[in-house]
Symmetry: C2
Subunit: 312 residues, 2 copies
């Protein structure tokens, strides 16, 4: 497949598909996932890390594939009882899912998020390293025509309906990269950095906003993105809507432009037009929709092959 | 039944039976329950009030009668998921039960426990006032032959197995009575104060240890206890075992002696011997076992009648 180590930069559900593909085709010790924590927030006093948890569930086989988020076989008796006593019910917390939030919040009193997540992953039988982008809090804030909203308010409570004007990452300036992320990027065996087909503006940009992380990406190994808008359509989520609201053309070329200076190559979809891409980028085309394990492994392999080609 | 207001001092499961009896025979505005919070503790970062919650569940009809604690129809998916990630599993937290703990902990950041519990009770359709003995933390600590243990460690994790030597109420000296408790005891219409058949050493003594509460009991209205050891046997829980370990005779007379200076009368069981009681106490005898709603109402009525008699 590929010799050496691989770092994946990823957000939530979209990225988790490629994460599973990479985990399937690489040895566990080859792969480190650096995960967006800009979506993290405190709800009912509990510290919630949606993108990390999505990965934990996806990679351990616990995720609900049909619903697209959370755990399979989840029950909702906590939410019903919470509603009964007048608690905030705009954010759904499954009974089993709560265990991650309660235990994480409890342990954060004395431990770094990195250490807690590494332990959770090990307990769930995940051999791949999952590393938050930072152990310091960063909060993605969305400026909309209804004012500035914390990410989950925008994403869950308001279902991305307000018109997005800009995004900022509160706390990013002071956030230090998680030691595990820096270590993975400094590994002399690093052979590829893959940018998952997550939302660039909401899921990947927060990672790049952590000082030291964007810098640590450069010159180490080829950086290859996978398009999140194959054929000009977002597979899931608000990426296309957001691009329109930002006045951007919904196409892979826009994504390539957005990642200029960060990526060396991009996996475009067979439906995309390579001619519109900025010059100087390595390009491979594939069917990038990931419906099955086979799809996921194929896209992962395609991205790794492009990185290998760019390395020579 | 009885004219005027009634205050019940109560702990958990044993007291909740009499609490239900009193709630059944009195108008809601007549009754205030002052509840032990010495069992309260912080577990997994969540603030848990076992005795208050037992009352909330009992009085709202949500309690699991068969198991004897917690909510009926409870599910345990949180605990299973917590175990999966290595969380502490010695204290059982049901999925629906968690709602009280999460919401209480969340609201305690800005509100008094009294206010939160009043709101929970109202949301659960409970018209009777439920008031913690104090809004300040008091922690019942049990000195045993294994050293000093926080109450829940002794009661739940160690199942009351260590030999009890003494009990202290950490924080009680600095704790102020909850305003609602003082108000109920200062009510000019106060006609009776009932001491539930809860464990005197672990459930009622913490209430009496709050400075100002024991004083506020005196001279306001007759104080009547219901024996927790009818015929020399504890109905449930460790009362008899603890009395033996303290070198005390397991009989109602010991309880009456223990409450000397606090109570004016006692409801003893038909199996008890009134002749052994300390002199000067008002006494009524009844079948004090409460298996049915009828039993609960009868014992409540008996206690209220004794108070009414002592008032004349």
């Amino acid at each position: 497949m590929i010799d050496g180590k691989v770092v994946l930069l990823t957000g939530g559900v979209g990225g988790a598909k490629l994460a599973r593909g990479l985990a399937a085709v690489l040895a566990p010790e080859q792969l480190t996932m650096v995960v967006n924590t800009g979506d993290d927030f405190t709800h009912l006093g509990l510290r919630i890390s949606p993108d990390i948890d999505t990965l934990l569930y996806s990679l351990s086989g616990l995720s609900d594939e049909e619903r697209g988020w959370g755990r399979a076989g989840e029950s909702w008796n906590f939410m019903a009882a919470l509603r009964q006593i007048g608690g905030a019910d705009w954010f759904q917390l499954g009974d089993a899912d709560l265990a991650l939030h309660v235990e994480r919040t409890h342990r954060l009193a004395g431990e770094r998020l990195s250490a807690i997540i590494a332990d959770f992953a090990a307990r769930l039988g995940i051999a791949t390293r999952i590393v938050p982008m930072s152990d310091d809090p960063v909060a993605t804030m969305v400026l909309t025509d209804e004012g500035e909203l914390p990410f989950q308010r925008y994403f869950v409570a308001r279902r991305c309906e307000p018109r997005l004007q800009s995004v900022r990452f509160a706390g990013a300036d002071a956030a230090r990269p998680a030691p595990g992320a820096l270590a993975a990027l400094a590994d002399p065996d690093l052979a590829a950095i893959i940018v998952a087909p997550s939302n660039p503006y909401l899921s990947i940009d927060p990672i790049l906003a952590v000082p030291g992380l964007a810098a640590a990406l450069r010159g180490r190994a080829p950086v290859v993105a996978v398009t999140p808008v194959p054929g000009g359509e977002a597979v899931k989520g608000p990426t296309a809507k957001i691009m329109r609201e930002l006045g951007l053309g919904v196409e892979t070329a826009t994504i390539a432009q957005h990642y200029r200076g960060v990526i060396d190559g991009i996996v475009i979809d067979d439906k995309d037009d390579a001619a519109t891409l900025p010059p100087g980028l390595g390009v491979t085309s594939s069917d990038t929709l990931m419906r099955s394990a086979g799809d996921r492994a194929r896209v992962a392999t395609t991205a790794l092959a492009l990185a290998a080609r760019l390395r020579r």
